[in-house]
Symmetry: C2
Subunit: 321 residues, 2 copies
């Protein structure tokens, strides 16, 4: 996919997420033109990039990476003109995002890829504001954008296959892990999970069950540590012992009907159980549960050591919660 | 709290969780008596403990730790007699757990601590089956129990303060991080969060949005990596940039009303917003957001390296999803 390699990018909207994209692009030796209407934007961005730089250096940079490759443009049109790749990161309000994307689409090259960092809006909704909507994808990253690898790439109804392929190649060039989301849905995939967790966390505080600190502690030192290596499905595949997900669903399937959260579960039909069990088996094809357990345990041991450095006392009883 | 130091423990029910408790106790030099009615239980437990042992050795053991300190008793009464600490881990059905706890309570010493690993049942419900219910606490661990530090200690209405203190001291002796849950609720704290995540994950598969592997990938490489260090609240405190949680709630509060998950959020009242903002500030007292960001970034950098060892290609575009 070398033909898709880019040497220039435009970033529109330079809050926490926009600045993360800028730092990630610069670290890959890309020339970045940025635009944000706030008067103090450029100074704040340069500060944010300087703060991220040492971590990017430790991670390993492109030989031509330089903080000097960042320019702020006086207008949105000047920022995006001639850029083969444009990433939009303005606040999460449809009318605002739509208006900005309309301007971007008008000023951008015909064959540019236009990505939006929207966390919740659907691509078909946003691309309706654009001329040349086939160039548009949702490309939703995670904070801190310069270090976390995932980007959800979501095509809308009008997005061309060619643009999805170009977008994947561009995000790979940025050393990211693009996950193409096959169906549009509010919140894509990850933010539906994060938001479910967040809403349940808010209920716990709102109902006086726990403080924010107790919720955080309860999550990190059991579940959170596991989720750095394995997602919700693989984690439960291993909780089932040698019987894997099949055994787990038999044992904990009935709990789906209990009020363990404010979220109503889908009915655990045979079809859903099959999908989940087959899914886990296909994910782990050729690796036995025992081998997965060994990998998890070795990982957790090392993660315990790592956490101990970062939150002294994190994984022992004597430390702060 | 040296007066609470134990040298013996009884473990009733030896599935994945019970075996985890046995391994953890043995690693701390404790004599363990186990009971499980399944004929193959002892052989399976010895295999599970042998498998966990090298990880416990690497983590650092008590000088008297030995696999030889495990005995299986022929009856439940013999297993628990004379033990100052008993951990129950039978399947998650109230009638079954209640019956086993009744037997445990009858055979146990008057001043023993009786902990139940129940993931969802309330302590007041379970202790109603026990004579001497003041000795009973829920003590909910996380798989793998021998490596993950968290245990949720939940007293019921009849639990004595003395028993809660003894339980805390015992779990600390087991090198765990006991979190006392102040209010009884189905699923305690952590499993409400895990279950919300799990239910939303099942909806995504059930609605044909994503496969189990896509859900796992979408969760690990963005959110999951962050949750190994910071919980749902602190993560969003940092997503707010220098404005912290206050800014974050202003920006993403409205999203609570959007269908980003199947879970209905609580109304974001001023009182709830205050609790959440004050909570984050008190959790991070004396540490600036910039310092927290530095800690997070350095951690993620190291976690990226660690993940790369365990899932080769995990954090780069070329690897498997």
């Amino acid at each position: 996919m070398m033909q898709h390699t880019i040497s220039k990018a435009a970033v529109v909207g330079t809050g926490v997420i926009g600045n993360g994209w800028i730092a990630r692009c610069l670290a890959q030796g890309i020339q970045v033109t940025a635009f944000d209407p706030a008067p103090e934007a450029e100074a704040k961005t340069r500060e944010a990039v300087a703060r991220a730089w040492p971590y990017l250096e430790k991670q390993g940079m492109h030989p031509e990476a330089s903080i000097e490759n960042l320019t702020f443009a006086p207008t949105l049109a000047e920022a995006v003109a001639g850029a083969p790749f444009i990433q939009e990161n303005v606040p999460e309000r449809e009318a605002l995002k739509g208006g900005v994307l309309k301007e971007i689409a008008e000023a951008a090259d015909d064959d540019a890829v236009i990505g939006s960092s929207t966390s919740g809006l659907k691509p078909s909704t946003l691309q309706a504001y654009c001329t040349g909507p086939e160039r548009f994808v949702v490309a939703h990253p995670f904070n801190p954008v310069y270090l976390l690898p995932l980007v959800e790439v979501v095509p809308g109804e009008a997005t061309s296959t060619h643009s999805v392929e170009k977008a994947q190649a561009i995000y790979e060039q940025l050393n990211m892990k693009p996950l193409v989301v096959r169906k549009e849905i509010e919140g894509h995939i990850a933010d539906r999970l994060i938001e479910a967790l967040w809403r349940e966390s808010l209920h716990l505080v709102n109902d006086g069950i726990a403080t924010t600190e107790e919720v955080d502690t309860a999550f990190i030192y059991g579940a959170g540590m596991r989720y750095a290596l394995m997602g919700p499905f693989l984690t439960f595949h291993l909780a089932g012992g040698e019987g894997g997900m099949g055994h787990m669903l038999k044992q904990f399937g009935p709990a789906l009907e209990l009020p363990w959260t404010k979220l109503k579960a889908p009915e655990l039909t045979d079809a859903l159980a099959d999908q989940v069990i087959q899914g886990c088996e296909s994910q782990t094809e050729g690796i036995s549960i025992t081998d997965l357990e060994d990998r998890r345990d070795e990982f957790l041991l090392r993660l315990n050591e790592l956490l101990e450095e970062f939150w002294p006392g994190a994984n022992v009883s004597k430390g702060p919660l």
